[in-house]
Assembly symmetry: C2
Homo-oligomer: 688 residues x 2
């Protein structure tokens, strides 16, 4: 094969490159690894397969209830969707689902979620103690179905499985950008698919109050632009989540992040107002007045109403990022502090938290708050959710509180899956805790803050990276191989489409929209080679508000490029896999042409003008890559200084353009590195 | 540019190739043509553009009602979807919508649908006599929005528009495969987008009875496998359609095509039964007994119930493909015929139709039926829907009936858009009618019979070809340029995605599903080069039933390949457009590699095994194409016999494989033809 790199090049690759070698060109090399995420505690694959055909169905053996029956109906329609088979049950049930008991109908913290799955060539058995355990096992079964020589099949396998942490969550901010019910529900389906069990619903913030209050209707009437969930919709979501073994934790952030409350109820604030829904992003001055009894009367009514709407015993009051300007400028508040010997603003917030905690207790709820709520005198049952890191987690649990880690799981930072995957709640300061203290680390939650996402883009900012985090929360602590994770992630990502997610399918129409009347194929090439910047990159780039359109190239581009990862693997495999060079060459030829092919799309198109330099950069990367491949292929030493000059060129085009990073630079850098290795070896040979 | 074909090649192209030349490489060459479909009666483009930004909104001037207000709300959310702008009305309304009157709230045959749209650089005015006219104009406005130098914009334009035919329909068969409510509703949205106004709902057939009857509940209980629309859902669909200016015509096919009725009510049949829901496709023996009074008592009750459920005055009774075996084998029926001097089975059906027509009249409905209902004595108000052609249409209208053409518009035959586009209700025998007779040709309906489609694939079998047929029904008779139609169709197809259709977005997941764990990109290449066979091709290929999975490659492949059409245009443009050769070469390189790249996907995959020869054929086409391009580019004469041999090879690979046609053969054939032209010219030169 013309483009094949001889195996003798192999020694020239550095150790870093060799580390990448194992999962060559995606799944092929990993055919023995089942495409499961999260990885189960124990998997023993056996010879043979169970065929899945149109007659496939599951039956309940033993305990049965409405939740389990609904789960089986959903499961069968999931199988129908993902296989395209017109499932029409006939013959014996191929899958027997046996639960010992129902467990709690509304899922509870620490409930038994274990299951055991046994698949043989003739049938399958799923056993679980509770219905929730059966739900988890059904997802495993569905993930395992794949095409085989005679149609769809599932491998014969023995699986034992249970979660590592009892609290495995996703927080979704629906305030900064509104997320319609359908977005919430499809994300709940996907959460269930990767065995997450807590939906943390960030329902209020400066930019919007998103739930209907019948007691204080001006909250949503004045504070939401008409974008809020009715109480009937909230109940629908709670039931939808419950059916999937997911708890729903509402968050009403207070006393800060409350501008939207004050539009309808300015008397709650620490300064007179009037107030408007905040359109900008950041930390703002409006903050509740903790010194007036009317504030607590209001919150008593509000929390009472919400406590009956949300069945979960846990209730999140936020408590983060409180600015004290309004407190400092209020003579009345300052007088109150002096009269009550409250020395600092932090103490004043502690006083507020204490009062709120009493109200929560009155209404049967347990408080959760962000790091900042952890102050002396906090009730011991409180759960601390840490955005600051394992040090905060360790501090909280060593003081007797329970804690969750969210630091390291901020999806809006658009870090690669490997970044989040490497973060463990039990790392750092948490690693040296006593077992008793460590047991109070309940798990973690990924956070989808919504400054730079809307209903169209949010799925692609959560998924598939959320699946890798779900594995961190569910799978045993020693499941840490980044290569294994990435070898499974693309397939899991495609499978997740069948839950109704649009993380992949929304990209095409968004690119079509940008391309105007032209076919968007060249734009897709650019998008595949690009990665969108996250929170800090976008915040720096321009002044966003909640009304800034999120319809640009950066919004269509994904946080992490699976195509580029495939090419990185191909570079690492140049010595061993004959397809690797062909794959690299084919891609880089297309890259080299990209600027020219994008010309007709960019002409006269104000939405795309900003990516013209990016297209030029991609063409440059392609040309450098092709030259490097030529040198490698012919074992030539490039002219003196060529590698250095091209590395500088790569540094230049590695700079973000239009809030997008050119991921294509990475495999080209690896090629230059391989060339350096080849040249050094040649020099050693010559010196002999 | 290396691959550019010198302009001197141009004379070598045949006339046929030159005809294809105008719309070179899709939209670029047609930038002056607005991407509107159906094309309006009169379009005068003016200098300048109206900007569409987040503040955009429309206002009602003059007549207002709930239907118009709802239309404007839908319109604004359509604009938000298609532009990605967070529409948040501010400032003055940029579009003023003025109707003179409401018109009928439920749309009526022949109502005024005209509108006039005037867009200037500062604002836009839409004027219509009725709300229905305003609905049509809003779709035109939405279609015109595109990205420009400063963001989204709409060109300044003066448009006058009105439909050519008052009856512009789509028939959807929901019996042979079940189509859930969401499928119906998204297709109604798309119908409205291209100004169709009749949804013909084929609700019963041998394979399923799809609507709830409260009077005869065993119809859906026994005859639907649980897949039917409740009466509440029917009302929802009727209102949904009404809001979009679309009438809903129910069809209950009788006396044949009625197996599903007889499962619950065997006494209706002409033979004792028992009956089962039919799983096969074809024309079957079960047929209603026209000789028993109980049949008419039943139909009286049934039609009465349905008449109140469906507000439209027209009611379709099918009447096609009646087998008379049961009648011939029934002594009682034969005795009845003798007693009533009914000579033939055809006369017996005429008797039945007459009785049914009386029942329809009693319940205030006008009968529609397929060709076969046209027998002497038929009431003059009847509408004949012709699946047989313009001859039938002409016969019906010359006898005083009104008529619709469906022949030539059978979407399930998967003909190219150009095929349907060339069919006109006024052609053939209809062309020689008197104006008075011709006025009784109401229009036409495209038919989506559902043997080989399901909820996942039906959109791609209707769209975008339906848009070309909609143009035939709406636009003036002289709008017949196939090139113009194809230059607009791809953009219209992409725009239609924003109505919620999945004709494009379902392809990717279907290919992913077939590809198993492997990335599906090489399969997408094959799909882009392929075209699915229609009704007759599939019927010949294997024995299908309603339970046969429709999850194969043929189901993911589309009826017509826009990529291949683009390449045909590129071949035609070789002499004039420098990009053409590059585009051809790039594509054919990828084709030539396709078999190799598909290898890992095909290994061990029983679902894909059947396309292995197709992949080989595509590689062959790519290789022939590349060689031909080389010869053309270097002005070389190929070796003697080469062109002939390769043409034979193309003939061989032009044979369908796995119910798929290799569309890629077409541009390669054109290249060989161009080569022949070049050689002939060279011979002429040498002979001089």
């Amino acid at each position: 094969m013309q483009n094949q790199i001889p195996a003798r090049f192999w020694p020239h690759f550095s150790n870093r490159l060799r580390l990448l070698l194992l999962p060559v060109l995606a799944a092929t090399a990993w055919s023995a690894t089942l495409p499961l995420m999260p990885e189960p505690v124990k998997v023993v694959q056996q010879p043979g397969y169970l065929a899945i055909d149109s007659g496939f169905h599951a039956a309940i053996g033993g305990y049965s209830d409405a939740r389990l029956q609904a789960a089986l109906a959903r499961f069968e329609s999931q199988i129908a969707r993902q296989t395209g088979l017109p499932i029409s049950p006939s013959g014996d049930a191929k899958l027997q689902v046996t639960c010992q008991e129902g467990g709690s109908e509304y899922p509870t913290l620490g409930e038994d979620e274990s299951y055991q799955l046994d698949v043989s060539a003739s049938d399958a058995k799923l056993q679980a103690r509770t219905v929730t355990g059966a739900l988890r096992g059904l997802e495993t079964f569905a993930q395992l179905i794949a095409p085989g020589p005679d149609g769809f099949q599932i491998p014969a396998v023995h699986i034992e499985d249970r979660p590592r942490f009892p609290w495995r969550g996703l927080m979704m901010d629906v305030s900064r950008h509104w997320m319609p019910l359908a977005v919430v529900e499809r994300n709940l389906d996907a959460m269930a698919a990767v065995k997450l069990n807590v939906f943390h619903w960030h329902l209020s913030d400066d930019q919007g109050f998103r739930v209907e209050s019948k007691v204080y209707p001006r909250l949503q009437q004045e504070g939401s632009d008409g974008h809020y969930y009715t109480q009937a919709q909230v109940r629908e979501v709670v039931n939808y989540a419950r059916d999937r073994g997911i708890r729903v934790i509402p968050e009403f952030d207070m006393p800060g992040h409350t501008s939207s409350w004050f539009v309808g109820y300015p008397a709650l604030a620490s300064a007179p107002g009037p107030y408007a829904i905040e359109r900008h992003f950041g930390v703002f001055e409006p903050v509740m007045d903790p010194t007036r009894e009317e504030t607590y009367t209001f919150l008593d009514g509000f929390i009472g109403e919400m406590a009956s709407l949300f069945p979960d015993p846990y209730f999140h009051i936020g408590g983060d990022e409180v600015k004290d300007d309004q407190w400092k400028h209020s003579a009345a508040i300052q007088a109150f502090m002096r009269a009550h010997h409250i020395a600092t603003s932090r103490d004043l917030q502690a006083y507020f938290n204490h009062r709120v905690q009493e109200l929560l207790k009155k209404h049967g709820k347990i408080m959760i708050g962000w790091d900042e709520v952890l102050v002396p005198g906090l009730a011991s049952e409180t759960v601390i959710q840490s955005w600051r890191g394992q040090k905060s987690v360790a501090e909280a649990v060593s003081k007797g509180y329970r804690s969750l880690l969210s630091w390291g799981y901020y999806l809006d930072h658009l870090q690669p899956a490997s970044y989040h995957y490497a973060v463990d709640p039990m790392q750092g300061d948490s690693a040296s805790l006593t077992p008793e203290q460590a047991s109070r680390i309940l798990g973690g939650e990924a956070c989808m803050w919504a400054e730079y996402v809307d209903a169209e883009t949010v799925d692609s900012r959560i998924w598939p990276r959320m699946a890798a985090i779900a594995e961190r929360f569910w799978s045993p602590r020693d499941v840490t191989s980044v290569d294994s994770m990435y070898s499974r992630l693309p397939e899991v990502s495609r499978w997740l489409e069948w839950t109704g997610l649009r993380h992949r399918s929304n990209e095409g129409p968004m690119l079509d929209r940008l391309a105007g009347g032209e076919p968007s194929a060249p734009l897709r090439v650019l998008a595949d080679a690009s990665e969108a910047l996250g929170f800090s990159g976008r915040r720096k780039a321009q002044k966003y508000t909640s009304l800034t359109p999120l319809n640009r190239f950066v919004d269509a581009a994904h946080p992490e490029s699976p195509s580029v990862r495939r090419l990185e693997n191909a570079v690492a495999a140049l010595g061993t896999n004959p397809l690797a060079a062909a794959e690299l060459r084919a891609t880089m030829v297309v890259w080299a042409q990209s600027a020219a092919r994008l010309q007709p799309l960019l002409a006269n198109n104000g939405l795309l003008a900003e990516v013209a330099p990016l297209a030029q950069n991609l063409a440059t990367a392609g040309k450098i890559g092709l030259r490097a491949l030529d040198y490698l292929e012919h074992r030539q030493t490039p002219p003196a200084g060529w590698v250095n000059r091209e590395q500088q060129e790569l540094d230049r085009i590695d700079q973000p353009v239009a809030e997008v990073r050119l991921a294509a630079v990475r495999p080209v850098r690896m090629l230059l590195q391989a060339l350096n290795g080849q040249s050094a070896a040649a020099r050693r040979r010559d010196a002999r």
